[in-house]
């Protein structure tokens, strides 16, 4: 079973993402609410993919992505950043942090599912 780490400080976003994934797929969802917790859970849970917000307390998504890339155990995990920040400077910072994809909110359920499946299909 594929495991996805959902990272966002918004309960609403986590709720929406879980509604898409848990009702429509058999992916296992685990969650974190800031970047530091995401780095810890990525190491502990070894997910197949990380779907992460950028603007979060304690540690933002850019820094968390860099740290995930720095660790031997987690450096190959696909990381998709999903954020309200659509400015070019933010997108550049996202890819410099090592993310595989950068998606702007709002994202609809079907698009989210297609995006995840493009990374998780066998």
């Amino acid at each position: 079973m594929k495991k996805i780490l959902l990272v966002d400080d918004s309960r609403t976003t986590l709720l929406m993402e879980r509604m898409v994934l848990e009702k429509r797929t058999s992916y296992q969802c685990i969650t974190a609410t800031n970047g530091a917790e995401a780095v810890e859970k990525a190491q502990a849970e070894n997910p197949d993919l990380v779907l992460m917000d950028v603007v979060m307390p304690q540690m933002n998504g850019f820094e968390a992505c860099k740290r995930i890339r720095q660790h031997e155990k987690t450096k190959q995990i696909p990381v998709i950043l999903v954020t309200t920040r659509g400015e070019e400077s933010y997108m550049e910072a996202g890819f410099q942090s090592g993310c595989n994809d950068y998606v702007t909110k709002p994202i609809n359920g079907p698009d989210l599912l297609r995006l995840l499946q493009s990374y998780l299909s066998e």
Partner: protein, 180 residues
């Protein structure tokens, strides 16, 4: 509602029509709120993350004085904020009837003293009466227009936000009764 056919993927994914879950997620989030601060935070999350607008203001209707008063705002200067003349002339009748007003052309719906423009006015109902209005200002740059899912989100805000925002006395009494 937007829908898509989801392909089966090694037994992992069901083949079926997927309704966009944003309105359902918004409804569930608002129903978890028990007071005004929680409801304002939920509204901010819904409008920012699910709709694509990070500038908003919430007004409460004072029926005795016949005017709306600002009670909360996010992403803009609260002190200079007021509902525009255009709101009273054009949007108010519909809002009082419970219908959202969407300014497709961003015409002259100026807000406050900063020349900010409103994208939509969303009525907030409690006990079937309009008790407030949520004004949405500029949409995020990547958000081209208000679409059908957004209209679904407006409907959820209209029907679900009033209880936690303006039904505090009842929800507070409910909590104390449960404690006893």
């Amino acid at each position: 509602m937007e829908s898509a056919l989801i392909q089966k993927n090694g037994g992992n994914t069901a083949v079926e029509e997927l309704r966009d879950p944003r309105p359902d997620a918004a409804r569930k989030r608002l129903r978890e709120c028990t007071n005004q601060p929680e409801a304002c935070e939920a509204i901010r999350e819904i409008v920012s993350n699910l709709l694509g607008c990070e500038e908003m203001a919430l007004f409460e209707l004072d029926r005795k004085r016949g005017r709306f008063s600002l009670i909360w705002s996010f992403g803009t200067e609260a002190k200079t904020f007021h509902l525009p003349k255009m709101f009273v002339e054009t949007a108010l009748p519909g809002v009082l009837a419970g219908d959202a007003y969407i300014d497709e052309g961003f015409s002259d719906a100026l807000m406050g003293g900063q020349g900010e423009r409103a994208s939509a006015f969303v009525p907030i109902l409690f006990r079937r009466e309009t008790v407030g209005v949520l004004a949405l200002l500029r949409l995020l740059p990547q958000k081209a227009k208000i679409d059908e899912v957004d209209r679904g989100l407006f409907a959820v805000l209209t029907s679900e936000a009033g209880r936690p925002l303006f039904g505090n006395a009842e929800s507070g009494r409910g909590r104390s009764e449960r404690k006893r």
